[in-house]
């Protein structure tokens, strides 16, 4: 059987340690810290005061502007602070609401809607009110993605999960396939698309077999080669349809919308169960945490609590550790264990630092062949470090998807992605966001 894929990429050790671990529901944490910016776009505006009682599912942050999202209280309790804390994802202080839990869940549910009879607009409104964002990691507000600027005819569900260690999408597909299918039906209705594909890497053969059987005739299951970054939006589209998203464009430019499997589950939970996005599935894994597993965890739960209570602490005898939001390829290392779980965190990976000493590029061209965007990472790195941003932009600086395949494959440990990420920021700032 020939498996579909894209050109380039790498194959890091898969380390899917938790692929057989059923998702368990975590106990409720005593305290949560909820960022007002857990999505791409403008931060939400806090609408609660210190001392105020809040219910589970109650809106505590309202969107500002078009690209923004609602934020809800993940637990029932009292607001103890509204202040700015450092967000590792955004690299700056962001407004956050701290809530101490006072009792078990006392729900405030979303407005009821009959998904079979409701109009597209009514459904879209509930998706927006549920605060749903892309759960694969990019955290783009889903209601915005559901109103694409151009008509779309194809929906692609992302079940690739190409990051090492992470298994939550895999488990969700195995355990909650009926609910995901319901989410897909609702999404189809909102988007008005005809064809639906789901792309799954071949290392999740059990999920492929299950969904092919259960979803026959409804969703086209596409087995994909196990290769990183198979789950990157552009590479996934390319693997399944053979099409390329135009440079600087959106999938909707070629009539496609991509959604993560976990997002589909969140849609179902919002529309059918009337629950806003206050909980998500995540993988806790890595060699430096005692117990690995898959968990349903409330958004805003501090990572320290997750590691202590769900992972039962760090492995003894380790002095230095990397705690990553996400997997080891694109995950963001946290500088404080007080950092809470965000809507987009599909996993917490706790690993040791691998020794890396950058030496001279020997022009082996491994990065050129690893780059899934067909860029020349060695040259982008060089131009970025020499601050020749315009030249870097001319050879595709802004096309880089920051997947890290170049640095992964580099025998000289050149930090391409690091310098490219910085150069992108500086270039955008210098050009005022204009092309």
């Amino acid at each position: 059987m020939t498996l579909l894929s894209f050109k380039g990429g790498v194959h890091p050790p898969e380390k899917k340690l938790t692929k057989n671990a059923e998702i368990k529901t975590a106990p409720l944490p005593q305290k949560v810290v909820v960022f007002m910016l857990q999505h791409a776009g403008a931060p939400a505006k806090p609408i609660v005061q210190v001392g105020q009682q809040v219910k589970t599912g109650q809106v505590i942050g309202e969107p500002q502007g078009t690209i923004s999202a609602y934020v809800h209280s993940p637990i029932t309790g009292t607001v103890t602070s509204v202040s700015k804390i450092n967000s590792p994802v955004h690299g700056m202080a962001v407004e956050a609401i701290t809530i101490e839990r006072s009792s078990d869940d006392d729900w405030e549910l979303l407005p009821a809607v009959d998904y079979e009879r409701a109009s597209r607009e009514e459904l879209l409104d509930v998706v927006k009110k549920a605060g749903i964002v892309g759960l694969g990691g990019a955290m783009f507000p889903t209601h915005v993605k559901f109103a694409p600027p151009k008509p779309v005819d194809t929906l692609i569900i992302n079940g690739a999960e190409c990051e090492p260690y992470l298994t939550i999408d895999h488990r969700v597909m195995l355990e909650r396939s009926d609910e995901i299918l319901l989410g897909i039906e609702i999404t189809k209705k909102i988007l008005g698309v005809k064809s639906v594909y789901i792309g799954i890497e071949y290392n999740k053969k059990d999920a492929i077999d299950l969904l092919e059987k259960k979803w026959a005739g409804k969703v086209q299951v596409v087995p994909l080669r196990t290769k990183y970054p198979q789950g990157a939006e552009k590479q996934l589209i390319n693997a399944i349809t053979g099409k390329e998203v135009p440079s600087g464009g959106l999938p909707s430019d070629i009539g496609i919308v991509v959604q993560n499997v976990s997002t589909m589950l969140a849609i179902k939970q919002a529309i059918v169960d009337r629950k806003p996005l206050i909980e998500r599935g995540m993988t806790l894994s890595g060699e430096c945490v005692k117990e690995n597993g898959n968990w349903w965890v409330r958004i805003g739960t501090p990572i320290s609590w997750i590691i202590e209570n769900l992972g039962k602490g760090f492995v003894e005898g380790i002095e230095e550790v990397k705690v990553l939001m996400g997997g080891p390829m694109m995950g963001i290392p946290v500088s404080s264990l007080d950092t809470p779980l965000l809507k987009g965190n599909n996993g917490i990976t706790v690993i040791q630092e691998q020794e890396r000493i950058s030496t001279n590029c020997i022009r082996c061209s491994y990065c050129v062949f690893a780059c899934p965007m067909n860029l020349q990472p060695y040259l982008l790195d060089l131009l970025s470090r020499k601050k020749r941003y315009d030249e870097a932009a001319a050879i595709g600086l802004l096309d880089c998807i920051e997947c890290g395949s170049c640095s992964y494959s580099c025998p000289a440990n050149v930090e391409h992605v690091k310098s490219i990420k910085l150069a992108k920021k500086v270039y955008k700032a210098l050009r005022g966001g204009k092309k």
Binding site: P12, P164, K234, N238, P246, S247, G248, G249, F314, I318, E319, E320, V321, K322, V323, L324, P328, M329, M330, G331, I332, P333, V334, S335, S336, L337, T349, I351, E353, Q354, R356, I357, N360, C361, I362, R363, C364, S365, Y366, V368, M373, N374, L375, Q376, Y378, L379, I395, D399, E402, G404, S407, Y408, S409, C410, P411, A412, N413, E415, V417, K418
Partner: protein, 324 residues
């Protein structure tokens, strides 16, 4: 518990520059064995002198540059030294090789910025330097003695290489070299260049290990076959058959191990193809019309100089962009 926040990706390949260089050294072992068999003990001594002196010169340079504290030997100098040793005649005095190694490492490599920064292949530049400085030692060839660790008798006769015979006497005389002998390496020539089969053996190891820009030798050897075939059709008695051209001289050693040097060859497949064809064309022009019977070193050096230009004009189409 200390939290580390170094940049992504947080897992890296187990590969390293040193592992690549060690693979290249392993791939050259068959050629060293061949040279020891065909040209005796002194060939092995030259190979060892090349490897050891190259590493020592590099350490010396690092000390002079005050970089020796953080410098970890990665074997790249050893590769240069070994390649240079395989590129000289058995008639070369050991101190001539030392001068060549010093020139290759100190001037060609480190003056340009060290590992990865040099425009020219250090071993080839070293060879060309020796060729113009010690023309007699570098172009005196002996017949093989076909005995491991053998020693040449004092009254040994020199011999002509197949390409020299072709150049001076035409293809009819050069036919005295059988293709079998040429393939296994039973002929006069540079120490490491003669045994085609053992060079191919080492090369296949590099291919299996993914250590080589395969397009370079493919287009190089392919273009040599093509150009020599065209000339062979025009005048078979003068120009020699395509197979003869591929099996003789330094073509195989050059195409498989010198032109493919990572630092001094292009980064894209298209660029590598252009580079290889350029090498092939120049090699044949020198062989047919130049003053030297052999042109592999010079043509690769000339193409090395063009690599930045080739890289610039062979950039691949970026994903999602139309062909510019």
């Amino acid at each position: 518990m200390k939290l580390l926040t170094t940049s992504a990706p947080h897992v890296r390949t187990q590969d390293s520059t040193r592992k690549i260089m060690i693979d290249v050294l392993i791939a050259l072992i068959p050629a060293v064995i061949a040279s020891t068999y065909f040209f005796g003990l002194y060939a092995l001594i030259l190979a060892i002198i090349g490897v050891v002196s190259a590493e020592l010169v590099e350490l010396f340079i690092m000390r002079v540059l005050k970089k020796d504290k953080e410098f970890v030997p990665n074997g790249s100098a050893a590769v240069t030294g070994l390649l240079l040793a395989l590129n000289v005649s058995v008639a070369t005095p050991w101190w001539v090789l030392l001068i060549g190694v010093f020139f290759a490492i100190a001037i060609v490599k480190h003056v340009f910025g060290g590992l990865g920064q040099n425009t020219f292949n250090p071993a080839l530049a070293g060879r060309v330097f020796l060729l113009v400085s010690f023309p007699s030692a570098m172009t005196t060839w002996y017949s093989p003695i076909n005995k491991f660790f053998g020693v040449y008798p004092a009254d040994i006769q020199t011999t002509a290489t197949p390409l020299a015979v072709l150049k001076l006497q035409g293809f009819e005389s050069a036919k005295s070299f059988s293709y079998i002998d040429l393939f296994f390496g039973n002929r006069g020539g540079s120490l490491g260049e003669t045994s085609i089969i053992l060079l191919l053996l080492g090369f296949s190891y590099l291919v299996v290990r993914g250590r080589i820009k395969v397009m370079v030798p493919a287009s190089y050897i392919g273009s040599v076959l093509l150009f020599s075939w065209i000339f062979y059709m025009v005048d078979p008695s003068k120009y020699g058959s395509p197979l003869f051209h591929v099996l003789t001289g330094g073509l195989m050693l050059g195409a498989l191990f010198m032109a493919t040097d990572m630092v001094t060859s292009p980064m894209t497949i298209k660029g590598q193809a252009i580079f290889g064809v350029g090498c092939g064309l120049l090699t044949m022009v020198i062989r047919y019309f130049g003053g030297y019977p052999e042109g592999v070193s010079l043509s690769i050096i000339i193409m090395n100089a063009l690599v930045p230009l080739i890289d610039r004009y062979t950039q691949p189409r970026i994903f999602g962009r139309r062909v510019a």
